[in-house]
Structures are given as C-alpha cells and as structure tokens.
Symmetry: C2
Subunit: 216 residues, 2 copies
C-alpha cells in the first residue's frame, strides 16, 4: 500500500464526511485538520492558500492538494485498489459510479445548499427565503430519483459497498434537517440505517461530527 | 480501438457540447441524437426511459446509458487512451483533472443555470428575477478562479490538450450571454480563441449548435 502523507481538511456537518468515510474504509493513515467554518476560517488567507475555493473537503497528498469529493473518492479508489472502493478495472461500470457521484455533487448537494447558501445565487433576503422554502421539495425530488432509479441495492452499485455509498450516506444525513419525509424513501432510509451499523461509519461520525470530544 | 455503438443525446446550446467535442477528438464513430428542448422532448416518457434525469448529455454505449459530463469524459479518456484525453495512468494528475471537471459541473454550470432554470430552486418569479440578476457576478467570480488558479496554461492541465479544455470551452461559450466582462479574463478569453481554431472544434460546433443545417 502506498504510504503518502495524507491530510484531510474537513468541517463538521459538511460533505467532507464522504471523503473522511472513504479514508477510514481504506485503513490508511491520515491526519484530520478541522477548518472552523463558524469562525470563517475557510475565508482566511491561510486556508485559501491551501484551497482557493474556500471549501471542504480538501485532501493534501504529500503536499499536493486535491478538491471535490468525486475526484478525491476516485483517487482513493485507484490508489488503494485492495479497498475495492470502486470498479476501477471496468471503465463502463466506473462511469456509472462516477455519474452517481456527479449527481450528488452537482444536483443533490446544490439543492441542499439553497437552504443556507442562498447568497451565492441572489443578493436579497426575500429570494433567500424563497429558496429555503423550496429545499424540502427539491431534496425530496432528488432523492426520489435515487430511490427509484439510481440505488441498485442493497448498495448503490449493487452487491458491493463502494465510494458511492459513503457519499450518499453523507448527504442523506441532511434529509431530516431539510424536512424531507423519509417514509416516502424506504430504500434510502434502509440504506442509511445499514450504513450506520458499519463500525467504520460509527467511528468516523464521532471524529468528523464531534471533533472536540474526539480530540482531533 | 474498441468498436462500441455510441449514441450521443444532445441539445444545441447545452453542455452536451463538451462530450460531443471529446467524442470528435477521439475519432471514433458515433451517432448524434438531438433532444428537442424547445418542444419539451426531455420530459417525454420516451426520453426519460433513456435518461430519467431528463437532461443531456447522455451517451449510450452498446445500450448502456451514461450521464454527467465528468463521468462520460473520463469514460472516453479511459476507453480510448491513445486519444490522450486525460492522464489516465497517473491517479494524482487524474484527480486534478477530475476536480477541474467537478468544479465546472457543480459550481460553474450551476451558477449559469440560475439565469434560466430558477424554478429548480424557488417557486416565485421575484426570486427567479433576483437569481438572474446575480448571474453576471457569480459567473465572473467562478471564471476569476479559473483565470487565476485553475487554468495552468497554455491548456487547462498544462502543455497538453485534454478533456478539461473541451469542457471549459463548452461553458466559456456562455460568458457573453451571461454578460461577463471578458477583458477581465484574458487567459480564459485566449483559451477560448485557441480552442475555436482547432478544426475538430469548428466541425463540432456546426453539428451541435446548428443541427438543422448540419443534417443530424
């Protein structure tokens, strides 16, 4: 197994949980660096020199900084193939996995972001409130597509757990806060339950979501 | 070279131009299938049975349908490695390329979509108008990051043309309509000019943007 120095920049509650879970899955050694969003650390010069986007996750690999969950997840899958995070030897199957991740990144995460990040796309409070009001409906619509068309079962890609399951799980944790009715998404709800039962998931939730008590 | 039956579902003016350009770059044979957005064809049962997202691009590979530009572009790069569309043998370099594409897909395209697709994220016209007003600023901000941090030069990844150049070009064509001041983006503007001079780009713009006269 390659022994790169890996540093994950993360923030509790954010989608960096997806990369954190995949890292934990590989069993490789890494360091977690919290970016304090409440204090605005993501907009400081120090952090922008690491990731000029001012977002998380960022993964430093021997000092080279990677960004964007879909890109980082595939990097981990290719670099640690024994972890079986993705069907890396089959370009067509891999494309289906990457398409799933692209949907989470560009459509699902974006739908959710309209709850608290409206200022990215409009300058007045009335528009922000209007965006917030639609989040339950747009997130429900995104997850209905996952429920009916994308989640093969029992795992996202079928019989084997993959990077897609970790990414889906990280975003599915937002459904309650986004007021989406889980009873209409029984397959998504069941997937989330089964993910919670995995020891690496329980371990990483403690570190990623409660870094104060986990001491990282 | 593999001889899969490839069918590209596209719409003029849309981001399917990125996949179309990469296909043309490979030199492989493919069929182009126009989805008539003006007639709402993307919401018909016939098209939703191909791509339940109701979007383009979709690429059918021997009947298996792939979606999302980042996933399709990587599939083409891996399946036709002699086309050198991406650094497929170097996971770290590939991750940087995929991160660039993810940024285009999830941040740049999304910023642009707030001009005409506001109903995805809000239900009232006042909010849609507010979103429209911010598009010049948000697109300018996205492309400033590309100008200053992401575009290595002369091509996106450095010395070699890649899938990232085609994707960037497809979205940079929207800058004029989005009222972004190109004089503040000299490197992006120069990149767009050089892309236009490539014969495969001129050829594909004719087919993708003017399918009536190109007879496809």
């Amino acid at each position: 197994m390659p022994t790169n120095a890996l540093e994950l920049y993360f923030s509790p509650g954010s989608c960096s949980l997806a990369t954190a879970l995949a890292l934990e899955h590989t069993g490789v050694a890494y360091t977690m660096r919290r970016v304090d969003f409440r204090a605005g650390e993501q907009r400081t010069g120090a952090y922008l020199s690491i990731n000029p986007k001012g977002r998380v996750p960022a993964l430093a690999v021997d000092g080279t900084v990677l960004t964007e969950n879909p890109a980082i997840l595939l990097y981990l899958a290719q670099t640690y193939p024994e972890s079986r995070l993705a069907p890396v030897a089959d370009p067509l199957a891999l494309a289906k996995a990457n398409a799933f991740n692209a949907y989470l990144c560009a459509t699902v995460h974006v739908a959710h972001a309209h709850k608290g990040r409206g200022s990215r796309w409009a300058d007045d409070e009335a528009a922000w409130e209007s965006m917030k009001r639609k989040v339950p409906a747009s997130m429900a619509s995104c997850f209905a597509l996952i429920e009916e068309d994308l989640l093969v079962g029992p795992w996202v890609l079928g019989d084997e757990l993959s990077m897609c399951d970790y990414y889906l799980f990280a975003l599915a944790r937002w459904l309650d806060g986004d007021a989406v009715d889980l009873t209409r998404l029984p397959r998504v709800a069941d997937h989330r339950e089964r993910m919670m039962e995995l020891p690496q998931v329980a371990r990483m939730i403690a570190r990623h979501e409660h870094p104060e008590t986990a001491g990282c």
